[in-house]
């Protein structure tokens, strides 16, 4: 029976000569929300990029499966077609390509022919409304001249429009004001509450616990120096909020010694 999860097993990955991920084990089952927290430099974004297949990140051992299918040999677009979505911390600008054109092309690649133009238009306008985004966005060039908040809203628009099975949100809350943060939270929650979105598995990567005030995590993991050092329920996020990472760092160091 095929597993219904995004499963990371003993994953090691390097950037250039440096090993960043030193054996990551993580399983995000469909419909669940996992938060991955950790100090800067712990390897959180490396994990996100390694899962998505960025060419600069070299997986040296381990495996990643999505609903039982091995991802690591696949190009980034094939991984997306299997159902993986990555919301970028720093989304690239693509001048000259409109938001509407980009999302339509992506949707067509991921789910060929499933939405006739009228339905697509209806859906995207609904989502724009949910995200409190001006329809004028559709004519703007992707991320070109966008503020931080606008870029994150566009990531959420794509999340809502591309119907993935597993979504990795990489530091979606970094640099956002409260309104933008609420918009991201509302967007994810609305998706999870919807018929189509309730089975999406989320991996929310974050440095600060703030986003978890808006999105309830089922599981929280702490990452340090390329390893997951502690896992627990949502209350673990509160520990970080109160005490920062130092206490856990001591705990872990004590354990290793």
């Amino acid at each position: 029976m095929a597993e219904q999860s995004l499963k990371v097993s003993r994953l090691h990955a390097s950037v250039g000569e440096n090993e960043i991920l030193k054996g990551i084990d993580l399983e995000v089952s469909q419909g669940s929300v996992h938060a991955l927290m950790g100090p800067n430099g712990s390897g959180k974004s490396t994990l996100a990029f390694s899962l998505a297949g960025h060419p600069s990140y070299r997986v040296t051992s381990g495996s990643v499966t999505l609903d039982g299918e091995e991802l690591l040999e696949l190009s980034p677009d094939k991984r997306a077609k299997l159902g993986l979505f990555l919301s970028f911390q720093y989304p690239a600008a693509i001048p000259g390509v409109s938001v509407a054109n980009f999302i339509r092309t992506a949707r067509q690649s991921l789910h060929p022919g499933d939405l006739p133009p009228a339905k697509f238009r209806k859906l995207i306008f609904e989502q724009l409304d949910e995200l409190d985004m001006d329809p004028a966005f559709l004519g703007r060039y992707v991320n070109d001249g966008f503020s931080g908040g606008e870029k994150k809203r566009l990531e959420m628009l794509q999340l809502a429009m591309l119907a993935p099975k597993y979504a990795i949100l990489d530091e979606t809350d970094s640099g956002l004001d409260v309104d933008a943060l609420k918009a991201v939270g509302n967007s994810v929650n609305a998706l999870r509450a919807s018929e189509d979105g309730k089975s999406i598995g989320f991996l929310i990567i974050t440095h600060y616990p703030r986003i978890l005030q808006y999105i309830t995590a089922d599981h929280v993991h702490i990452m340090m120096d390329g390893r997951i050092v502690k896992s627990g329920g949502p209350e673990l996020a509160n520990v970080i909020e109160r005490e920062g990472y130092d206490k856990i760092r001591e705990e872990v160091a004590g354990g290793v010694a």
């Binding site: 998505a52 297949g53 960025h54 060419p55 190009s75 980034p76 677009d77 991984r79 997306a80 077609k81 979505f85 990555l86 970028f88 989304p91 690239a92 600008a93 693509i94 001048p95 000259g96 390509v97 054109n101 980009f102 092309t105 992506a106 690649s109 991921l110 060039y141 794509q158 591309l162």
Partner: protein, 402 residues
């Protein structure tokens, strides 16, 4: 006329000029003006261009000995379309260059300093005079089509727009023969002119065009050049913001595929105070395409308060493509704003990865990004039909790079 001459006149020598004058008369230029121009063509050096590494074309070795400089009939410039008829109805003069306009030719915009402009004048074999009366506001574009078939085309276009008038002129060059021409533009005070030059010659043709504009006080020229065809396209554009408040905008794009070579130079001269200019050039190379763009902004000593910008971006889409980008500034005044920036490079890996992460396969992502690259320049051409035509041609070059 039972038979054509069995030996067509060929090349651009004095002998061929003698033959042209004998068979067709001097037309809008006197015989002596033509002979002087031919002498200048032979004496003047090629300005500026030095062959770059591995360039296929060296302008100093341009061989025109096989071209047919004229044939019975004229350059097939059809001026009788509907848009032009409507414009004529409103008082615009659109006519073949003829004896009625000798006073203006070259008087306002002198091209005698240029080797190839001199060649164009010597063998001028067809051209158009457009005069837009002062105050006229014209919405429909005036169209000028030059088609080089059976013989080379040496078109001479003169566009004069009167005070406070507003109009659009689209000049198209097509066919499969050699083209060497001149376009002069004179904008009176407060005139607003949109000028488009679209070159779509066959891949075996060569084209050398010299275009110059003179802008009066508070006038505004929006020029857009699309060099889409030919094997070799040499394009020279200079606008002079001659009086206070004049505004020059130039957008140019080219995409060299196969073995195409485009050599584009633009210059904006700020010759008076409070003048403004923008120059935006976007180019790409694929296959073995080669390009060269030299862009100059010249601000003279008393042109205080000038505001000039020059932006040149080039995209390399294959190992064999090569584009040289040379922005330059000559500033002799204080209290001016001058900006120039240039990029040359391949498609960014970050953009590619972003698109791929959304399920878009690499080839499709490259295509989308490359076409998107041109879009900011395409958007500055007037008229959706014109823009769509350019987009279609750019996409075709991507799909058939060789």
């Amino acid at each position: 006329m039972a038979s054509l001459s069995s030996s067509l006149v060929r090349g651009v020598s004095k002998a061929s000029l003698d033959a042209l004058l004998e068979q067709r008369g001097p037309g809008p230029f006197s015989a002596s003006a033509r002979y002087d121009a031919l002498a200048r063509y032979e004496e003047l050096p090629v300005r500026g261009t030095r062959g770059g590494r591995g360039w296929k074309h060296d302008l100093t070795k341009l061989d025109l000995s096989t071209i047919v400089p004229f044939a019975p009939g004229s350059v097939a410039d059809d001026l009788s379309n509907e848009a032009n008829a409507a414009a004529r109805g409103r008082g615009v003069r659109i006519e073949r260059i003829g004896a009625s306009v000798p006073g203006l030719l070259g008087a306002a915009v002198d091209t005698r300093d240029d080797k190839f402009a001199s060649l164009a004048l010597a063998f001028a074999n067809g051209g158009t005079y457009v005069e837009i009366p002062a105050g006229l506001q014209l919405d429909e574009a005036i169209e000028i089509n030059y088609r080089a078939e059976n013989a080379a085309a040496f078109p001479y276009t003169l566009i004069v727009i009167g005070e406070g008038a507003r109009a659009t002129v689209v000049e198209r060059i097509s066919g499969d023969q050699f083209v060497c021409g001149i376009t002069e533009i004179v904008c009176a005070a407060r005139a607003q002119l949109q000028y488009v030059a679209e070159q779509r010659l066959a891949p075996t043709a060569r084209c050398i065009m010299t275009r110059r504009a003179l802008l009066g006080a508070d006038s505004h020229l929006e020029a857009a050049l699309a060099e889409l065809g030919s094997e070799l396209s040499v394009s020279r554009f200079r606008s002079v913001a001659d009086e206070h408040g004049a505004h020059s905008s130039l957008t140019a794009l080219f995409f060299c595929n196969g073995d195409q070579h485009v050599d584009l130079e633009s210059e904006v001269v700020h010759a008076d105070g409070n003048t403004k200019s923008e120059t935006i050039v976007r180019s790409a190379g694929i296959g073995r395409g080669q390009g060269r763009y030299l862009g100059n902004i010249r601000i003279v000593a008393h042109a205080h308060g000038s505001d000039a910008s020059l932006r040149d971006d080039a995209l390399l889409l294959s190992e064999g493509a090569h584009i040289d980008s040379i922005p330059a500034l000559e500033i002799a005044a204080n209290d001016v704003k001058a900006y120039h920036g240039a990029t040359v490079g391949a498609i960014s890996e970050d953009e590619l990865f972003y698109a791929q992460s959304r399920g878009i396969p690499r080839n499709d992502a490259e295509r989308m990004i490359a076409l998107g690259f041109f879009e900011p320049a395409v958007a500055r051409f007037p008229g959706e039909a014109l823009r769509e035509g350019i987009r279609t041609t750019l996409a075709a070059k991507l799909d058939a790079p060789a």
